[in-house]
Symmetry: C2
Subunit: 369 residues, 2 copies
């Protein structure tokens, strides 16, 4: 167990909502009754108050700086999670365009995204890895995108399968739209290569309740006035994310996470290095286990965020999860569509937690191999 001042904390490998940096939790706790100099809690202040205006502006500014977001991109803080984005994206970027949206489907979330897009217009998969249960990325040269596509949609990291792109694939001139929900701000990103980036916060960027959308300004001209008000990117952009009351607490928390990344971690390159080290600890045990631990993802498609693997049988997998929880290593059960084990090791999972899991995996193998 990781110890804090007064409470016992476990190492929580949940796929999301997920572990948060302890210093961020402590800061939230310290100021919960009243923000310094404000006299009210972050939970109580108006989204239009000077105090929250400052929190919102600072969060956006710091996030732009951390990610290197170009000036011709808007940063929006919305609600509804990636699921709402699955509909907002085609409603704004596809509807009325007379074009086709092209989806690269290398896991469950990409599939869900496509299922919503076809309700809104002409949308299709240009690659689908379902035949191998989504264990890999498209091979080099396998993506054939139309230059005239409304956009091309990819999922940066498939949380359930543990399959991750290493940067943006080449897709031609159509705007690249990317679901970064489970690897947002976990490594440097060349934002200028994307037309639109989106991510829910509850994996790497804090609390559930806020979804970040970063989009190139010229794409806003596609949003039609007839759209439902909340679903219109332009309405949110024009209102500076205050079209209505946003999830103020989650924006505040995201701002603290970004500051932690900048001040404590040292930025996205340093975070990426840490995340590589953490993932390597687990993949090395898997690869050295002589088949006791069977990875789901192909080697060249492996995620740094979600390490997915099977054990020889389901009985052992059950025991693996239960005994792990007894030592304070929780939430290791894999998603039912893949089975087995999933260790989610987002930014906030400290390397000590991953080392404890590594040690446990080696022990468990010895005892049960």
């Amino acid at each position: 167990m990781a110890s804090s001042t007064q409470v016992e904390r476990v190492f929580n490998f949940s796929a999301g909502p997920a572990a948060m940096p302890l210093p961020v939790l402590q800061k939230i706790q310290a100021d919960l009754l009243a923000l310094p100099g404000v006299g009210s809690s972050i939970l109580e202040i108006s989204h239009r108050s000077p105090a929250f205006t400052e929190i919102l502006k600072t969060a956006e500014h710091d996030l732009r700086q951390l990610m290197g977001v170009p000036d011709n991109y808007k940063v929006l803080f919305l609600q509804g999670g990636s699921r709402l984005q699955f509909s907002m994206i085609p409603m704004n970027l596809l509807r009325g365009s007379g074009k086709t949206a092209e989806y690269v489907v290398h896991g469950a979330w990409g599939k869900y995204a496509l299922n919503e897009a076809v309700k809104e217009g002409d949308a299709k998969a240009i690659w689908d890895g379902g035949a191998t249960n989504y264990d890999r990325l498209p091979a080099a040269g396998a993506l054939h995108c139309s230059d005239a596509a409304a956009y091309v949609h990819i999922t940066s990291n498939e949380t359930i399968q543990g399959v991750q792109f290493d940067g943006a694939p080449a897709v031609g001139p159509a705007p690249l739209v990317c679901d970064f929900s489970s690897d947002f701000i976990s490594r440097p990103v060349d934002v200028g290569r994307y037309g639109l980036i989106y991510a829910c916060a509850q994996k790497n960027a804090g609390a559930a309740g806020v979804t970040v959308v970063i989009l190139r300004e010229d794409l806003l001209s596609r949003s039609q006035d007839s759209l439902p008000g909340y679903m219109n990117y332009k309405a949110h952009a024009d209102a500076g994310s205050l079209y209505n009351t946003p999830c103020t607490f989650a924006i505040y928390t995201l701002g603290l996470i970004v500051q932690w990344l900048r001040d404590e971690v040292g930025g996205l390159e340093a975070m990426h290095q840490r995340n590589r080290e953490k993932a390597k600890l687990l993949y090395d045990v898997i690869d050295a286990s002589g088949g006791f631990y069977r990875p789901h993802a192909q080697v060249d498609s492996r995620s740094l965020m979600n390490v997915t693997f099977r054990l020889p049988d389901e009985e052992l997998e059950k025991r693996f999860v239960a005994q792990a929880a007894e030592r304070g290593l929780t939430d290791l059960k894999g998603h039912r569509s893949v089975g087995g084990i999933r260790a989610s090791i987002y930014n906030a999972m400290p390397i000590e937690g991953v080392r404890e899991l590594r040690d446990y995996m080696e022990e468990f193998h010895k005892l049960n191999g």
Copy 2:
């Protein structure tokens, strides 16, 4: 200033996000690093974890009990605020019905709701108080609803104008849909008289990020499969509010608020009594001021939640707000469409805070009258 253990807290009259009960804030603070027996923060646990499942079930159970929600109603915890409901309601209840939705517009929010409904189908105002700048409710007998309407929409309390229905108006057999955003759980409600109730949480029910929808089950049959997934009430009902990751923290907070109402306040009848007493303190000063304080709402339409009034001139209004803030009475500036002063005195505003405001109003009148 209200004093807490270590921090100075003001009396915050914000229209929302708004004051929260101090014991609830203290409970959140105490458990912020780790929920008892869980080892992780409420911000870190999966929405599908046993711990959160229990929080969600308890919140729904307690809310049902507090409000007396009949068994044939679903309780949903959604995101996107009332603005998203303005679109979800007609998308689910109007689209494809071949009927008309009828809106009673007695303030700004009802107008916004109608503006979205007309995008989705045949919708119209059957009463609009705009000619008197929304200072009153429809007179008795003034509402003529069609029996064949898809639904009739009202706003229980107009936050900006401070005009509030005292219970459900008679509308005939069409389902009554009501925006309770700013007087939710502030008094008893006969849920069975409504087809659908909705409310964002950040006024009386906690933190921004969750929107409660309570709807009669038979209405779910109107939701078409072709709707965008997140916009479909049936999808949320079938998934027990876990269609995707909800704002877990705001649901947790709402649960604590409901417990506070039950255990500390003594239920909705007791809360209503408190709210009446609080509002009377302010309206009495207004009525005794000989026209120095000019109420916006007509006497029989007055809100118990938002007390709106003008002073003789804007210079005085500015001074009123500024000097109030100096004594720890904050956020009293009215909405620009009404001007003047708005004192929002939701459930969590203690009577001591209202007494301080009352005393201040009397002093200010003496000094400037």
